[in-house]
């Protein structure tokens, strides 16, 4: 049997096993990126094959945790795609202001870069105190990091540039304290953020939302899982609420598309229609 076919069998067995043993379902992740990450993790850990790793992943929680890190850790940046945040500030905030209280879901928040960026936009728009931001990720270890709100100081230069391009109204340096090689985000920013685990592949939604950000997460899912995640968002989102995807993600061919309008072309901010 050729090696590639063998690896497909190994992959299927492993993902089935991980789902049964731990409840994490990677069976509907897009294959190419998943395989790349797996290969990378295998090499880094020194396993010769998926079959050899499988026994340890299933029997040893610590190995599974490392496997989970290898598969799910995403690195983002603050105000990634400044154009998006500028549009959010200029065209979504005016609507948000009209609600007395807003529930916001940042799905796939990774290290919290996007949740903090959003908190800054809401703060400058004067509505942060009226918001509750649910920032969720599949990976609990990375949520701990997000909660700490500590980032590498060397990244601040890039974040500052993004912040300015995104239409920031003050100095980005006002939002963190530098200490040695770290930057600690202003604790007030996270007072309204709840970092909590959530798995888009298996969990249910959690209640009515006014704004949902899920950017550059769906690109890792196959069409089945994309549909599932978008179904959750659609159920959670209130009529007139906003759904924000990554700049290269689109609702176009998805089943919920009929009830959404893109508010600025190419920025991937969609507003949910009111029922007729």
């Amino acid at each position: 049997m050729d090696l590639q076919r063998l690896e497909e069998i190994e992959l299927r067995l492993l993902l089935d096993g991980v789902f049964e043993a731990y409840g994490y379902d990677f069976r509907n992740y897009a294959e190419a990126s998943l395989k790349r990450r797996l290969r990378h993790w295998l090499a880094e850990q020194g396993y010769a094959s998926l079959s050899i790793a499988q026994g340890e992943i299933l029997r040893d929680r610590a190995v599974f945790t490392s496997f989970l890190q290898g598969l799910t850790v995403n690195v983002s940046e603050m105000f990634r795609d400044p154009k998006f945040f500028r549009t959010l500030r200029e065209h979504v905030l005016p609507f948000l202001r009209t609600w007395p209280f807003m529930r916001i879901w940042v799905a796939g928040c990774a290290g919290g870069e996007e949740a903090y960026s959003l908190a800054i936009v809401l703060h400058e728009g004067g509505v942060l105190r009226r918001c509750r931001i649910y920032a969720t990720d599949i990976n609990e270890a990375i949520l701990d990091r997000a909660r700490d709100g500590i980032f590498a100081l060397r990244d601040m230069q890039n974040f500052t540039r993004n912040y300015q391009l995104a239409g920031g109204t003050t100095e980005f340096a006002d939002y963190y304290t530098a200490r040695y090689d770290r930057a600690l985000m202003l604790p007030a920013l996270r007072e309204n953020i709840l970092f909590t685990p959530h798995n888009l592949a298996v969990d249910a939604d959690f209640g009515e939302m006014h704004l949902i950000l899920c950017r550059n997460v769906l690109i890792y899912f196959n069409p089945t899982l994309k549909e599932r995640a978008l179904g959750l968002f659609d159920t959670a989102l209130t009529a007139g609420g906003f759904l924000c995807l990554g700049m290269k993600e689109t609702l176009e061919i998805r089943s919920i598309a009929a009830n959404y309008r893109e508010i600025a072309k190419g920025i991937r901010i969609y507003r949910k229609d009111y029922p007729d």
């Binding site: 590639q4 190419a32 990126s33 395989k35 790349r36 690109i219 290269k248 689109t250």
Partner: protein, 192 residues
Amino acid sequence: MQQLTRSVVVIGVSAGGFEALKLLLGALPADFPLPILIVQHLRSGSGSLADSLQHFCGIRLKEADEGDRIVPGIVYFAPPDYHLLVERDGTLALSVDPPVRYARPSVDVLFESAAESFGAGVIGVILTGANDDGSKGLQLIKTAGGTTIVQDPADAEVAQMPLNALNSGVADYVLPLARIAERLCTLTMGLK
């Protein structure tokens, strides 16, 4: 249903790429029988290469969207700041995984996924550039039974990237830029 393409051309290019692609893509017929996927290293925030090059080309160019099903006669460009991959079912995937040796998009990431998804059906091309991205991917294409073309370093605006690819020892053809389009057409004659 449209028949699945089992063959694809993948191209990696860096410094000097605009002029090189203008010449290469401009020389391809609009009905070129394979899909073409391109990773060009760009500064983030650059405009769409597909838009700026289209003017010079008969063949259709577009920036890749995730989920695009690749079809013959269209050239897909990796979007700035995303890796471009191709799945076994012939759809395109994007990722924001970390840069690979400072590059995102990375030529190696595209070539690796093409080799894995399409095996011997891949034609890999390395053009002008100032780094060693693509060499590893070209080896994977060769190992999977694919065909490899490297721009002659003497002919490249920046020789390093083709030179590195050449030194990896897996080039089937070393050609000046002006001959690559013609070679692609010969290699794919009768394919559909």
